[in-house]
């Protein structure tokens, strides 16, 4: 009896709260959020009130003090209704993880509560025109001048930048040191020298209001340095949160939404005098979809379980993210095949699912980056 696949009663309760909220509050707005491409503050605040933001932040810091698995279950449910809205949660959790791990007491005091309450959005300003997954290539600079750092640089694709009140900016204090000069800084939105570009017109995850962030002689007090000045490794530790498993759970949720729609449709729709589910071509697709969805769930749960038990989870997380992302794109495509013409109409959510799916092979480390990480971990295991 070494293995137990049962969720605890509490995990089920938490999942069910998220499920109900997703079905009743988010799903009816999902199409509108997608079409308008607007961040939905009322939903974000309600999720804060419910306690869905900061679930994995320790209780003594005002968070939920919950396990990674509970959080993954919530992300999965929210993502079934809207990938964009689920991204509000994953980004917030990552930033909270960053600040709670690296932040000084003052910084935690000041910023954790408003983010957890859903009053403040914090964005992550790392990606640059020439630096995405390769953090070492970051060109933004932070120069210490007396009591201040002066930041300069350009950040790209910054999710929720237009609604953020706070940015975690990644910059280099000494470009000569390469990646060892990388530091992170807390930069409030109204800091002179920080400006935002035009909202990106994205294919999917619309409603996340991503935009470029420009830093021009942006002066911030020295205390806004996040984490000690110890360098790159420390910065990376801040990123070692549950975020990537959340991304995998988002892919899982979206795949499930597509599957649910296809399954329901296959049982309602009749062609040639038969319900189409009775055709082998259709039911085999559904059988396979369901199998792959379960496989992704297994990988995610295992990685979450390892994290919750203090075991290494880097490889498992990347495996889960890699598999779930690819799987999601396949399943949405399969579901479209079953729905046929209906799936192509904007009247139904499937075309949104299709546009939302591809991001799962791109963000939070592309498939290729995940493979690099997995391969690196494999090599470590050999040693």
């Amino acid at each position: 009896m070494g293995m137990d696949f049962k969720l605890t009663e509490e995990q089920i309760q938490i999942r069910d709260i998220a499920r109900k909220f997703a079905v009743q509050e988010i799903a009816p707005l999902a199409a509108e959020i997608d079409e308008s491409s607007k961040f939905n503050w009322p939903l974000h605040k309600k999720m804060g009130e419910l306690g869905l933001i900061g679930m994995t932040v320790p209780e003594e810091m005002g968070g939920g003090g919950l396990d990674t698995l509970s959080w993954c279950l919530v992300i999965e449910e929210i993502a079934k209704a809207s990938t964009a809205v689920s991204n509000y949660l994953t980004l917030s959790e990552s930033m909270l993880n960053y600040i709670s791990h690296l932040g000084s007491e003052d910084q935690r005091e000041k910023y954790l509560a408003p983010i957890i309450d859903g009053e403040l959005v914090c964005s992550f300003a790392m990606t640059e025109p020439n630096a995405g997954s390769d953090a070492g290539a970051i060109q933004a600079t932070a120069k210490l001048e007396g009591d201040h750092y002066v930041l300069n640089g350009q950040k790209m694709f910054i999710t929720m930048a237009l609604q953020a009140g706070l940015f975690v900016v990644v910059a280099n204090v000494n470009p000569g040191l390469g990646k060892d000069g990388i530091r992170t800084f807390l930069v409030p939105k109204n800091t002179p020298g920080l400006s935002l570009g035009k909202q990106l017109d994205l294919m999917g995850i619309r409603g996340t209001e991503a935009a470029p962030v420009y830093l021009e002689d942006c002066r911030i007090p020295k205390e806004n340095l996040l984490g000690s000045a110890d360098g790159f490794e420390n910065v990376m530790k801040g990123m070692d949160g549950p975020g990537r498993l959340g991304a995998a759970s988002q892919a899982l949720g979206l795949a499930e939404a597509a599957f649910d729609a296809a399954m329901a449709y296959a049982q309602e729709r009749s062609q040639f005098g038969r319900v189409i589910y009775t055709f082998q071509d259709i039911k085999f697709i559904l059988a396979e979809m369901s199998t792959e969805i379960e496989a992704a769930r297994g990988l995610i749960c295992k990685a979450a379980w390892r994290r919750d038990h203090g075991l290494s989870y880097t490889k498992e997380t990347s495996q889960a993210k890699l598999f779930a992302g690819k799987m999601c794109v396949r399943q949405v495509s399969n579901a479209m095949q079953i729905l046929g013409g209906y799936s192509y109409s904007k009247e139904y959510p499937m075309e949104r699912f299709y546009r939302d799916a591809k991001i799962h092979q791109i963000w939070d480390g592309t498939d290729q980056v995940q493979k690099i990480i997995i391969a690196k971990e494999l090599l470590k295991e050999m040693k």
Binding site: E10, M55, G64
Partner: protein, 259 residues
């Protein structure tokens, strides 16, 4: 202001209840349960009152240990206290006995300014417990409350769905109200309160503790049989030109003197 809200655990209405052919009763084993929706509207109404006027909301139910689930939900939504009333062993329950047990329990736990119930439970659709409790407790009784308008230390003004329209009623406290859905969509339980509720040790009160006579706490109305109503015959499906099929349908209604 102190408010008691009575909650009933009912079968989840997402699916049609199944009949056990052997017993002629509804299958309850292994079926999902929920809190009676109207009771949650009542709870929401109570919480809104204490949000504004202060005081505490308590929740109570009659049943077995499993019924603690609805009490935990009540706590997770914002109730401060929860009580389970254990029905005496071997006694079948009906609206009367539940009213009796609740009235005794409320007396022993009170005083309360208000007692709130849903207008009816969605399983037996009886609409009976609220009025009976009110009489047993000699409380002012207002049923089918659509809206709470004003509260003072002595009275409450509500809008009630009467037989020939809505009535605005000023009722003396303490009062028992049964509540319509319009009293408020139940708030979501927060994660924090949900987990807190899991750790609360909910007291289970028996007849002695609430001063009830176990011999009176049995059903007066006995169920003889439960059965499915005659299924409706599937009728005629009309397809084609909208105008044509509509005229056809109207003609059928006229032919059969339905119009």
């Amino acid at each position: 202001m102190n408010i008691m809200v009575c909650i009933k655990q009912v079968l989840d209405n997402a699916s049609v209840p199944k009949l056990d052919p052997a017993t002629g009763r509804v299958v309850t084993e292994g079926v999902e349960t929920i809190a009676n929706p109207f009771d949650l509207n009542a709870l929401e109404g109570a919480l809104r009152l204490t949000d504004v006027h202060g005081g505490e909301v308590s929740v109570i139910t009659v049943g077995n240990e499993e019924c603690k689930t609805v009490l935990k939900l009540g706590l997770a939504m914002g109730a401060a206290h929860a009580y389970l009333v254990k029905a005496p062993d071997g006694q079948e329950q009906d609206s009367w006995s539940v009213s009796y047990l609740l009235s005794r329990a409320i007396t022993s736990l009170g005083p309360f300014d208000l007692v709130l119930c849903g207008k009816q439970a969605i399983d037996d659709d009886s609409a009976q417990v609220g009025g009976s409790i009110a009489r047993l407790l000699n409380m002012t009784q207002v049923t089918y409350v659509e809206e709470i308008q004003e509260v003072s230390s002595e009275s409450i003004t509500v809008k009630r769905a009467g037989n020939s329209g809505s009535e605005i009623i000023a009722a003396r406290l303490p009062a028992l109200l049964t509540c319509e859905k319009s009293l408020g969509e139940p708030r979501y339980p927060t994660l924090k309160r949900t987990r807190m509720a899991n750790r609360v040790d909910i007291p289970a009160l028996d007849c002695t503790e609430i001063g009830a006579d176990p011999d009176r706490a049995g059903a007066l109305v006995k169920v003889q049989m439960v059965y499915a109503p005659e299924p409706r015959q599937r009728g005629e499906l009309l397809r084609g030109e909208p105008e044509e099929i509509t005229r056809l349908a109207v003609a059928r209604l006229v032919e059969q003197k339905i119009i």
